[in-house]
Amino acid sequence: MSHSHKLVIKRSSMSRPPPPPPTTNKDQQHQNPSLQEINIKLIQSGEKERLKELLRERLLECGWIDEMKTLCRAFTRKKGRNNVTVDDLVHVISPKGRASVPNSVKAELLQRIRAFLASTAD
């Protein structure tokens, strides 16, 4: 859904739909509108930050973060300190990282997210 800003001047109309919020993330152009709204609610309520911290804490406890750091160090050693970019490291970690999240951690986060969605259901 592209954001075409049409300037329609309707004098007495109160039913004009609100303009979509400005987005800088190109992904959001392909999201359905409700995901965008949910995202906004997540961020504005502070829940997104809390969820992220919870996830980070669980991943730390189970050693996931240390595993990822080890992968990064190994890659850095091979490729050379000065040739490594953040992008490289992201690509190094992403596949293994997404696959190795423990099920209990994933379940806990998903449950919290679903609870949030239920609490904000219109």
Binding site: L35, L42, K48, K52, R73, R81, V86, L89, G97, L109
Partner: protein, 179 residues
């Protein structure tokens, strides 16, 4: 089966979870990138080595094959007790907060507190100020069992020779704690 709303919710949740995970992945990658560029992982390797040696020392002591009859390294004191060659009590390093075996404590402190070349590079101006403060006053001596003067010299000018003599055998003993 649940209605379409439930499936939508599940899909939504997974998507949100994926977002959070990606965000954390980027954070971790960014941090590792920083560590790599700043060369901080050199120190990390030393610490890993220390932890390994620490664990090794503990394992060697706990190993039942190191019994007092067979191992000639074990000396017997006047009470007939044997002491393991590497002290095994675990302490917490007051500088970095890590758990270190007593027998590895001195070498660890050397690296941690600034006798070693690498550790001294780590030290910033503010922490040398802190160290100088400690060396001038009477040290709350959990880590300077011998004469105060030599240990203060060690802290303030960091010459390797002084430290080497004190801890050449790698063991750390607190004389007033012996029972």
């Amino acid at each position: 089966m649940s209605g379409p709303n439930e499936d939508n919710n599940t899909q939504l949740s997974s998507h949100i979870f994926g977002d959070l995970l990606d965000s954390i992945i980027v954070d971790v990658a960014s941090e590792c990138h920083r560590i790599a560029k700043l060369g901080l992982d050199r120190n990390l390797e030393e610490e890993e080595e220390e932890m390994r040696l620490s664990a090794q020392a503990r394992a060697r002591v706990a190993d039942p094959s190191n019994s007092s009859e067979t191992n000639t390294k074990y000396v017997v004191d006047i009470f007939g007790q044997t002491h393991p060659s590497v002290a095994t009590e675990i302490f917490e390093c007051m500088n970095c907060g890590r758990s270190i075996a007593a027998g590895r404590f001195a070498p660890h402190l050397e690296k941690c507190m600034g006798k070693g070349r690498k550790a001294r590079l780590k030290v910033t101006r503010s922490s040398t100020a802190a160290q100088n403060r400690y060396s001038r006053g009477s040290p709350v001596s959990t880590y300077s069992p011998y004469s105060n003067s030599t240990s203060t010299n060690r802290l303030s000018n960091g010459t390797p020779s002084v430290a080497g003599e004190e801890y050449s055998n790698g063991t750390y003993e607190e004389p007033w704690n012996k029972t």
